[in-house]
Structure formats: structure tokens, C-alpha cells
């Protein structure tokens, strides 16, 4: 009884030892990237085939927790690369001084120009309000129409969630000085505000709201994975704010060359082809999109620069709280 156990143990140990021979690259990312339904497993396999190294993911909760984790660990972090910050957080990340230039050419398939010496996009998406076509034949076509309608929406809290923060920036980028007035008008359309994306999306699917703040790519999930064509996103005339997800190299890494190799790898077809149907976002470099992934695109893209977003966050948050607290 014991002998096979010991043999298995030894085998496992030798497998570990074999794996530990090459260099190890540690990537700090958000939890859902590494899950079996995310891009993580495919990325690990493809990169390890190319690099003769061991790629390890360390998961740190969700996107908003990532930067906190980087700051908590500081220069002592065992991570070499951080994957999953978005452009609303990059100014803060750059200010920590913990990131080093990546030295890669800019990503080629973004709808806006984006070139940052520290952060390299690996995917992106447009925020949008998603609704059920069978229940809502004429969705609102702008924030103003939404505010004037009786439609009920569920959104995420900008104080705890990155999509929530994205919506805050969306309204700010679209309306500037008028953002506070728009929020006041929207207040009676908002059923509630959830801590994160999945609670809001779950409530929408359960019928608690007519629309939910999500991405233009959300209907693609239902189309492709569930053969359900009932969901769509509402085209807003103000334009749609972008979420651009980026990778950065930590300055304290002991594997700078391997880290650069990984960042170059994030732009390769092997990595990019995984993105649409695992992260349900757009790839950052040209690759063929899967059948049924998109039927149309927003007419206009909005994105504040990292510095604008950082400067706008505090005041915009106060406006939002004041408008919705009434």
C-alpha cells in the first residue's frame, strides 16, 4: 500500500525538480485571467514551449486589487511582470516608480493611438450597456435618452470595481463639466450599484434590471458559447469609453530579458488568438476574430490619457457620490 504512494511522491518530486531547472518567470495577474476558463492555461502552455522556462501566475483578486498588491510587495515582490492593470490605473502605477520600460513597439490593433514606455496593451474593449433584445426593442441611444427613459440599469461601484471606474470616466470624457448633471438625471434609472462586475451581470441575467454596464463583447459570449442571440449592446451617440488592459515589467525583476520576451509574446498570434474567447475582449494586435464575435462597432471611441484619468478620478467620484446619494 505504501510503496506506490512513495513512488508517486518521488515521481512528483522529480517532476518538480525537472521543472525547476529552467528560469522561472512570475506573472502577477487578476484571478479570472488564471482560471481554467481564462487565457492563463493556454498562455502558460504556449509560452513555456517557446521559452524553455517555467511561467508561473500569481493571482491577486481582481484588477483593482492588482495595483494594491504591487504596492504592498514593493521592490521585494517575487513577481517579474504585472498583467491586468487598466489605463485608469496606469498613472498611479507609474508614480510608484516600481515599473521599468518594456522596450516593445506599440500594439497595433487599438482603435486609438496608445504608446506608453512602461505599459503594453494586451487586450481592450468598449464599455457598453447590455440589454435583452426580446424585452427591450428600442434601447436608449445616449446617456441623455437613458436618463429620460424609464429603463432601469445596474452599475458597478467606482470605489471597488474597474468597470465602475470606467463608467465614471466614460461620463466624464463624454460630458466634462456637465457630468454631475448627467449623473443627477441618471439617478432614478439606477436600480442599484454592486461591488463588482459579476454581481451586476448576475442581477441583469436574473431580470433585476433592463440594462447592465458591461462590454460590447458580452453579447458575443452568449452568441458563441451559449448559442443565445437575445443579448445586445446599445450604441451611444456620445461614443464608448475604452478599457485598455496592459502589461508592465517590474523594475526589481531578476529576469529582465525573459520578462521582455514575455511582453513581446503577448503581441504574438499565439497569445492574441486566445483572448477573444477566454477573456471576451478584443486582441491588442491584429488577429482574426472568431465567427460571430462582433456585428458592429461603436461609432466613436473615448479614452482619457492616464494623467487625465488620474486627475479626474477624485472630483468625478465626489460628483457621482453627491448625485446618487440624494
Amino acid at each position: 500500500m505504501k510503496a506506490p504512494l512513495i513512488a508517486t511522491g518521488l515521481l512528483a518530486l522529480s517532476a518538480l525538480a525537472a521543472k525547476a531547472e529552467g528560469p522561472v518567470l512570475t506573472v502577477l495577474t487578476y484571478d479570472s485571467f488564471t482560471s481554467e476558463w481564462g487565457p492563463g492555461p493556454g498562455v502558460e502552455k504556449a509560452f513555456e514551449e517557446a521559452c524553455a522556462c517555467d511561467l508561473r501566475f500569481v493571482a491577486a483578486g481582481d484588477g483593482a486589487a492588482l495595483l494594491a498588491r504591487v504596492q504592498l510587495e514593493g521592490a521585494a515582490s517575487e513577481a517579474d511582470v504585472v498583467l491586468g492593470l487598466d489605463t485608469n490605473l496606469t498613472a498611479k502605477a507609474a508614480a510608484t516608480g516600481l515599473f521599468a520600460p518594456h522596450g516593445q513597439p506599440a500594439a497595433t490593433a487599438l482603435p486609438v493611438a496608445y504608446d506608453d514606455p512602461l505599459f503594453l496593451p494586451y487586450d481592450w474593449g468598449w464599455f457598453a450597456f447590455v440589454y435583452d433584445k426580446t424585452k427591450m426593442p428600442n434601447p436608449p441611444a445616449s446617456f441623455e435618452e437613458l436618463a429620460a427613459s424609464g429603463a432601469k440599469v445596474v452599475i458597478q461601484d467606482p470605489r471597488s470595481s474597474t468597470p465602475g471606474l470606467g463608467l465614471l470616466m466614460w461620463v466624464k470624457a463624454a460630458y466634462g463639466e456637465r457630468a454631475a448633471a448627467i449623473w443627477t438625471e441618471l439617478a432614478d434609472n439606477i436600480v442599484t450599484v454592486t461591488p463588482g462586475w459579476s454581481e451586476a451581470y448576475g442581477m441583469f441575467l436574473a431580470g433585476e434590471a433592463d440594462m447592465v454596464l458591461s462590454y460590447t463583447t458580452s453579447p458575443a459570449y452568449h452568441r458563441i458559447a451559449e448559442q443565445d442571440d437575445s443579448k445586445d449592446w446599445a450604441q451611444f451617440s456620445e461614443g464608448h469609453y475604452l478599457q485598455v488592459e496592459v502589461t508592465g515589467i517590474l523594475a526589481a525583476t531578476d529576469q529582465p530579458e525573459l520578462a521582455k520576451q514575455f511582453l513581446a509574446f503577448t503581441q504574438s498570434p499565439a497569445f492574441q488568438a486566445l483572448i477573444p474567447e477566454t477573456n471576451w475582449m478584443y486582441p491588442a494586435s491584429a488577429t482574426t476574430l472568431p465567427e460571430g464575435f462582433e456585428d458592429r462597432r461603436p461609432e466613436k471611441s473615448l479614452l482619457l490619457t492616464a494623467d487625465e484619468a488620474e486627475a479626474a478620478r477624485g472630483p468625478a467620484l465626489e460628483e457621482w457620490q453627491a448625485a446618487l446619494a440624494r
Binding site: 486589487a65 495595483l67 471597488s160 442581477m203 436574473a206 446618487l324
Partner: protein
Amino acid sequence: MASGSRALAALILLLVAAPLGAVAWRAEGLSLSAADLAALRFTLMQAALSALISCALAVPLARALARRRFAGRGVLITLLGAPFLLPVIVAIMGLLAIFGRAGLVNIALQPLGLPEVSIYGLQGVLIAHVFLNLPLATRMVLQGWQAIPAERLRLAESLGFAPADLARHLEGPMLREVLPGALATVFAICLTSFAVALTLGGGPRATTLELAIYQAIRFDFDLSHAAGLALTQTAFGGIAALLAWRLTSPAGFGAGLDRPWPVVAPGGWRLGLDGALILLATAFLLLPMLAIAATGLPGLADLPASVWAATGRSLSVALLSTAATLTLALTLALARHPPPWLGLAAVLPLATSSLALGTGLFLLLQPLVAPGRLALPVTVLVNALMTLPFAYRLLLPEARALEADYGRLADSLGLSGLSRLRLLILPRLARPLGFSAGLSAALSMGDLGVIALFAGEREATLPLLIQRLTAAYRIETAASASLLLVAISFALFWACDAGGRRAAA
């Protein structure tokens, strides 16, 4: 025993204080802002109301359950405990299926031409907190009732006590012993409310301290602010615990002969009221549970294989934390002449922000070892710490009565150490021990706690896996996995609780 329990209590206080201290130390200070005052006011108000309503309903409900006999009573009592074991987000979805915009209540109101009722707002926060905590409060009070020796009730019966006399001489003193602790416990749980307050509160009106801590740590990385908020939150939990300790007075019924309870239940309108109470509470507590089961059932057969590994991990975490919790709680509850801070040690973990606690532990441990390697041990530790207050609160009244009733006899017989534990303590405390074990195991199954902060790639527990499923759009599969989690939690709870009751009988 006495010095041991003090040392343990000091260790627990240290485990709560050191992480918060680490956050403050790293930040080189504490800070609070004017906006925090509004959050503090809302947090205290909703926690106090939730505690008052839960306990006010628990007293008549527990009395009805204690004095009435009907078919299925034992099963019902166990089932009514279930909502307390639900992961918060599962509970919210269950409540929405009944009280939400598309819920049963509104579907029923619509054809009657009545206006839609909205759950979003303070009412929603209170409904959810009562839903989650009424079961615990009821069980605490019910235990108090069942701890009244049958001889006292027989005496009351032969003296011709009216319900009012019964209330004054038996129920009053019992409630003085049990209620302050129940109030403080529910208050402390609701102090750390985050997802319920935000999701059902309807927006930034319902900002709690815990949400402010989230914002401070995750978006602002303002650790001094986070530490200030976390200490404020813990301090109010501490104040509640000390108040409860001051207000508690032992009922002093003396020992009985463990005869079966005589049923001295008044008839007439009181019978109708008890029946209505039990019926309403059952509907309120079990309808959302049924909704959860109905959503999760269809996908149960198609759960991904990784669910089973995660279940195994969660089970081992739950069993280990339960063993730790029971050892800690029993040692603390058996302490002779406990100083007030002993009770404090057993309530404070409840009022502590798990995010701040996790962040502090992370800061303390990170220089020593890679956090990913500690995910499961840290989860066991934090779960044990977080479930300790319940176990302590449930054991304390009966441990005190045990000491008062049998302590001197046991001393004079020279019964001490392991034989005292085996012959006296474990048999006499079997019922609350079983209940505490069930509660700890079930809560540890469902608690996400700090694992999200520490988790490596492959160490997902069942709650973390459910979170990953929802993040990957697999909402239906997540509902099925949630149902599995709830079913296992409940089975653990039922097995321990029934085991304890059987051993006590």
C-alpha cells in the same frame, strides 16, 4: 486552566491587533476624513437596527419553537438555521428572487394592481441582515430556553403560573443571560457588512466602513486611512462586546435532572400567534433557499471537474478550522472568573474587516515566505478566528451553568484534566458543542475571507471557484456550484448539530 485561557485570549487579541497594527505601521499613522463620519453613521445605524430587529423577532419565534410540539419540528429547527450559512452573494440572489423587481412578491402584486415594492434601500439592507441573522439569534435564544431545567417548568406548572409569571420568573432571567450576547454578535456581524449594504442599499447612500476600507486599500492605496477605518470598526465591535458583558447576568436556574420538558404551552390566541409566527418565519427564511435550489439544480450534473478538487480543499479547510475553533472556544468558555477582556477577545474578530486583516497578515508574512504558499494555512487560521465568536457565545452560558451546578461536586471528587473533560464537560456540553461545530464548519466552507488575497494559481477553494465561474460569464454553472456549496455546508452543519443533540439526549 485559568492561565491557559488567558494566554489563549491574549493570543487571539494579538492575532486581531497585529495585522491591523502592521497596516498602521506600514502607513506610519492613522487617518480619517469627514466623509468617513457619514459612513460610520450609516454603518452603526444599520448594524444596530439589524441586531434589534433580528433579536426582537428571535424571542417570540424561539419561544414558539420551544413550547410547541408538531410533526417535523426538529427538521424545521435545523432547516431554519440554513440562511446563516449562506455565502452573502448567494443570499442576495435568493432574496432578489423573492423580493426583487422580478421577484415573486412583485409578480404576485402586479395582477392586483398594487404598486411595485422595492427592496433597494435601507429596507433591503435590513431584510437581508435579518434573513441572514435571525436564524442565529433564534438558535441562541432557543438554546437558552432549552437550558431551563424541566423541574423549574414543572414547579411553575404546579404553582399555576400564568404566562406573565412565567415570563417574569423564568423567561426574563434567561433572556438577561442570552440576549445581550446575541445582540452584540449580530451587531458585530453587520458592522462589517459590505456586499449586502452596497447591493441592496441602492448606491452610495449606503456606504459602510468596510466599503471605505476597500476603496482605501484597493484604489487609493492609502493604508493609514485603511488602518484608521479598520480600527474604528473594530473599536465599535469591542464597545458592543463590553456592553453585552456588562448587561449579561447569569440566570441561576440551578441543575436539573435532565428530564424531558413538560409542554406547558398556553392555548387560545397564543397558540394561533405561535403558529402564525412559525409559519411566517418559515416562509421568510425558506422561500429564498428554495429559489437558490431551483436556480442551481438544472446545472448540477454538468459541474466542471475542478469543482471536486476545490470541494476537497474547502472540506479540509473547514474541518481543520472547526477543530481549532472548538478547542479555542471551549478553553475560553471554561475559564474561571474571566476578566472582561476575555469576552472581548471572542467578539473582536467578528467586527474586524477581513480585508484589513488579510492585508495586515500579508504585510507580516510576505518578508518571510511567498504568500501564495500560505493560502490554505492562512485561510484555516482566519476562519478559526472568525468563527470563534459564535462558538464562544453558544458555549458560554452552558459552560457557566455547568461550572455553577457541577463544578464543586467535580472538584470534591477530584475530577480534573482529561477525565473531567470526558466524563463531565463533553457530555454536558454536547448540544452547544455540536451546534458550534456545525456552525464553524459550515461558515468555514463558505467564507471567502482572505483567500482571494493569498491564492496562488491552483489553490482555489469552492467559494473562490464560484467567483471565478461568475467572472467568466458562467453564471448558471456558478449557481449550481453555489448550490453544491450550500448543500455541503448544510450537511456538515446538520451532521454536527444532530450528533451533538443525540449525544446530549
